[in-house]
């Protein structure tokens, strides 16, 4: 009987459909991140600009994702997946705690609004955007040895100077705030875009 009950209470348990939704949106978000990170190769200052770019470009998929969430756990799973993908693509594991923490907090905030309250969604998206700063963690935590590694690893000294000028202990606070603010702004833009395109089409 317990099994039957588990299947008939869709409010509580995540089903296959939810997992697939999470997978799809994670893939899209990763493509967005990858495309933005390509710009970082042009100039190191652009690496710091990721904290503005990713929330703005990724806002539409994120807000569409939020309309699909009804149960606790989906944002958390997404953050775990992002942490795994970051590790696999060679970004390191230092950022993983930040990614998962921001995912769980964002999930809790959205849950407190019943996944329907728009204000809570904006706040939640702002918090979740903090995961982008995980990209910078190897730069900040291991600044000295990472710099040496980069120069030993044949990055030019010029690139390093620019990189560490833009990202260090002092600027990380600014970057975190930027992520949060642009996460919130992104939520507003994304909401407008979804209203413009998806609600008319009846997808949401």
């Amino acid at each position: 009987m317990a099994n039957v009950k588990g299947n008939t209470s869709p409010k509580k348990n995540l089903g296959v459909k939810d997992f697939i939704t999470v997978g799809i949106f994670t893939a899209i978000m990763f493509v967005v991140e990858f495309a933005c990170a390509m710009l970082g190769y042009i100039h190191p200052v652009m690496v710091a600009g990721l904290s503005v770019l990713i929330p703005l470009v990724g806002c539409i998929p994120m807000m569409l994702f939020y309309t699909k969430i009804e149960k606790f756990g989906m944002i958390t799973i997404m953050s775990v997946l992002i942490a795994i993908i970051m590790f696999v693509t060679g970004m390191g594991y230092l950022g993983a705690p930040l990614i998962i923490l921001s995912g769980v907090i964002a999930d809790l905030i959205a849950k407190s609004g019943g996944y329907k309250s728009f204000k809570k969604t904006v706040l939640s998206n702002g918090i979740f955007s903090l995961w982008i700063c995980a990209n910078y963690f190897p730069v900040i935590i291991t600044a000295d040895s990472y710099r040496k590694d980069l120069i030993d690893g044949d990055y030019s000294a010029e690139y390093c100077d620019n990189l560490f000028g833009a990202i260090n202990y002092k600027t990380i606070a600014v970057l975190l705030i930027l992520c949060f603010v642009f996460g919130c702004i992104g939520a507003l833009i994304g909401k407008a875009a979804i209203k413009k395109h998806f609600e008319k089409a009846g997808i949401v």
Binding site: V22, I24, A27, I28, L81, G90, S156
Partner: protein
């Protein structure tokens, strides 16, 4: 020649390669270890008859290495040289992980992957979502190319030079098709009994063969050598 690897071996390879990639190579020996580790997935790609991609990765990696070692140095200044140094550094740094990830994604069947994850007792949520992510990258690329073609046909590929429009024109149709594909995917997954309460059986039988043992030992030794010579010698 046909080597069938256990998906768990492949995951182990990813783990080792990403760990090694994070530590920078400083001495010739470390570079040698790293290059050998990179060559393994390329050889495996050839064994799977994926000659084109194997050759592309090999060429890219070789060019990056040759440029890094023979033409560029720390003192290279000037915009082109420092840019080139940055690119080659990034390619030499991250390409091994990329090649391995690409090999694993392209050669692992989803059912094999899921049954391997189940054997390692990974929660269903992570397994299914991760399988979808793996399966979805090629789909996104296909859909994106289709959208680009359609835009070209109407002559709006640059969105009038407006960056926001450029993003919007691509993102919105992409999301539409992804949402639809997602619905189809969930229907297919439910038909195949995913997410049920009963333990699924699998057609894919996982066996650890000789090749798996050789690779696991090889990668473990390589990682050990790398760590020891980098930090303790």
């Amino acid at each position: 020649m046909n080597i069938r690897l256990d998906p768990r071996t492949k995951l182990y390879m990813i783990l080792i390669v990403s760990a090694v990639v994070m530590m920078s190579a400083t001495t010739p020996l470390l570079w040698a270890v790293r290059i050998i580790i990179t060559l393994v997935p390329i050889v495996l790609l050839i064994a799977e008859k994926r000659y084109a991609s194997a050759f592309r990765f090999f060429a890219l990696y070789t060019i990056a290495l040759i440029l890094t070692f023979f033409f560029l140095s720390d003192e290279s200044t000037g915009i082109i040289k420092s840019l080139l140094t940055g690119y080659c550094g990034i390619i030499a740094q991250f390409l091994p992980a990329m090649i391995t990830a690409w090999y694993v994604i392209r050669t692992t069947k989803i059912d094999e992957f899921i049954s391997a994850m189940q054997k390692m007792h990974i929660p269903d949520g992570i397994t299914i979502s991760l399988a979808v992510v793996m399966r979805f990258f090629p789909t996104i690329k296909e859909e994106y190319l289709a959208i680009r073609d359609a835009m070209k046909m109407r002559g709006i590929s640059l969105g009038g030079g407006n960056v926001i429009k450029m993003i919007e024109y691509r993102m919105i149709p992409l999301l539409f098709s992804c949402v639809n594909i997602g619905d189809e995917l969930s229907a297919a997954a439910i038909t195949k009994g995913l997410g049920g309460k009963i333990k699924r059986t699998s057609v894919a039988v996982l066996k650890t063969g000789a090749a798996d043992i050789v690779l696991i030992t090889g990668f473990t030794v390589a990682a050990a050598v790398f760590v020891i010579f980098k930090y303790f010698v």
